[in-house]
């Protein structure tokens, strides 16, 4: 993970561009599998909307895909998605931003934490259709690929505030909220206001240290 976080060079750029460029076509290989599984018709309906050139695939007997306009990390996205699609699934499965993680998918672990209009929000407990007109920021949007890391990202690297790294994007998004809300004055406050983000590796002491460091730099 340390390498990954430290890698803000060309590799990251190309990866992001690649993901951005292929997001709309990523649905193609999925079609075969979803078409073979009628029970997954809801998911398939979303891809159908993106593939107007596939008239032989009639939408399943569910509500038609909904035309959505989302603003993610400053970029506009127009998608045709099943109305049930959560913001998390829209980000990961349809826009190609897989930094936000799916842990429990029930609002208990915090791995999916993103910012909506600057406030930390659980992407798994938010419908994509409900955040139209709002600005969504994900871990990918914290720092430009050719710029230094966000102070919170750097602090997590400096303090080795993770082991497996799966909860890290959510921890970092939540930690930024924690500092901006003014809840990082002492370790107890940090622990309380980071309590929605679970870490199975129990890197908590290092996470608290990272938040302390980043607070100084963010407010300095």
């Amino acid at each position: 993970m340390a390498n990954h976080h430290g890698d803000d060079g060309p590799a990251s750029v190309s990866r992001r561009r690649f993901l951005g460029a292929t997001a709309s076509t990523a649905a193609l290989p999925l079609m075969a599998s979803t078409a073979a599984l009628p029970l997954m018709g809801g998911a398939a309906a979303a891809e159908v909307a993106l593939l107007a050139a596939a008239p032989n695939l009639s939408p399943p007997d569910l509500q038609a895909p909904v035309d959505m306009r989302l603003s993610i990390n400053g970029s506009p996205h127009r998608l045709g998605l099943d109305v049930r699609t959560t913001l998390l699934d829209a980000l990961r499965e349809h826009i190609g931003l897989t930094g936000s993680k799916k842990g429990c998918d029930h609002g208990q672990c915090g791995a999916c934490t993103v910012h909506v209009d600057g406030r930390r929000t659980l992407a798994c407990l938010t419908l994509a259709v409900a955040v139209q007109g709002r600005e969504v920021t994900t871990i990918e949007g914290l720092a430009r690929a050719d710029a230094p890391l966000h102070p919170m990202q750097q602090a997590f690297v400096d303090h080795d505030a993770f082991q497996c790294g799966y909860c890290t994007p959510g921890q970092i998004m939540s930690a930024i909220g924690c500092v901006k809300e003014g809840h990082a004055d002492n370790d107890d406050a940090i622990r309380e206001y980071m309590s929605g983000n679970l870490c199975r590796c129990a890197a908590y002491p290092n996470i608290v240290a990272a938040v302390r460091q980043a607070k100084t730099r963010m407010e300095g």
């Binding site: 509500q63 109305v83 049930r84 959560t86 029930h106 407990l125 419908l127 409900a130 939540s174 929605g196």
Partner: protein, 268 residues
């Protein structure tokens, strides 16, 4: 999650009409309880009526004389940090500050929580203790007549909470024993001495039928509003929940502990 029709009405009348026309429709405020329930297929609304477009109209916190009026779509995070509320009813602001976790508090709303009336939710205890008034699109309901049981309220078909009016008490305190994972109240006790001197002690998270008044505690505190006055008062385990987290006896014990701490907080 089962499929549903999504609505985003721009007016209260329009929102209410969708519910009246569709028996299985549901309002969604912040969605922090409803969406998990839908994911688990415990809730299966035919139509989801997202009230987000009414947020500007239905949110905000303002003092009106001897009460504080909070818009139904006001989020827990906004309530917890409201200067108006921190000055007038700090116990209520403090309650909002420990609802769920910070991310939940940035979407979940007071009106949504009261409409849902989860037996372990926090606000019902405050509403019943302080004598809040639930204001809807068609009438005002006193808290005493609002909570009817587990997830049951006096709200009628298509009725929407627009605001909650909170009388400012002389003093009040809330303490909850949190489930460390869900942050719901295993037992939460709200104590209040109202402006007219009446004392209320209410309990959430423990009752098998939702929020209730602990009248023995009220009697003791009416005579002497101090935690010492509760020394010999015990709650009965009868009618309390037993689940994997705590049995009825333990919850009854916690009612006493939380009540004494809440009084201490109120008199601090």
């Amino acid at each position: 999650m089962y499929a549903f029709n999504y609505h985003r009405p721009a007016s209260l009348a329009e929102a209410s009409a969708v519910l009246v026309a569709n028996a299985d429709a549901k309002f969604m405020a912040g969605g922090q309880t409803l969406l998990p329930a839908m994911k688990l297929r415990l809730a299966n609304p035919s139509d989801l009526v997202d009230l987000v477009a009414l947020r500007a109209e239905l949110s905000g916190i303002r003092r009106e004389g001897d009460r504080v009026v909070i818009g139904a779509m006001t989020r827990h995070g906004e309530i917890a940090t409201s200067d108006v509320l921190l000055a007038a009813i700090p116990a209520l602001a403090g309650m909002a500050a420990i609802v769920g976790d910070p991310a939940v508090r940035s979407r979940g709303t007071m009106g949504g929580s009261l409409a849902n009336n989860d037996p372990a939710a926090d606000y019902p205890a405050a509403a019943l203790a302080l004598g809040a008034t639930i204001v809807t699109d068609r009438r005002e309901i006193a808290a005493d007549h609002y909570f009817l049981g587990l997830f049951e309220t006096a709200l009628e078909e298509g009725e929407i909470i627009t605001a909650i009016a909170w009388p400012i008490p002389k003093r009040a305190g809330y303490e909850k024993f949190r489930n460390p994972a869900s942050r719901y109240a295993m037992v939460g006790v709200f104590v209040a001495e109202r402006a007219d001197g009446a004392v209320r002690v209410t309990v959430t998270g423990a009752g098998a039928s939702g929020v209730f008044r602990a009248t023995d505690f009220e009697t003791a505190l009416t005579a002497d509003f101090s935690s010492a006055a509760l020394a010999g008062v015990a709650a009965s385990p009868e009618g309390l929940n037993t689940d994997i987290h705590a049995d009825a006896e333990y919850r009854a014990h916690l009612v006493g502990v939380m009540a004494r701490r809440a009084v201490a907080a109120a008199t601090a």
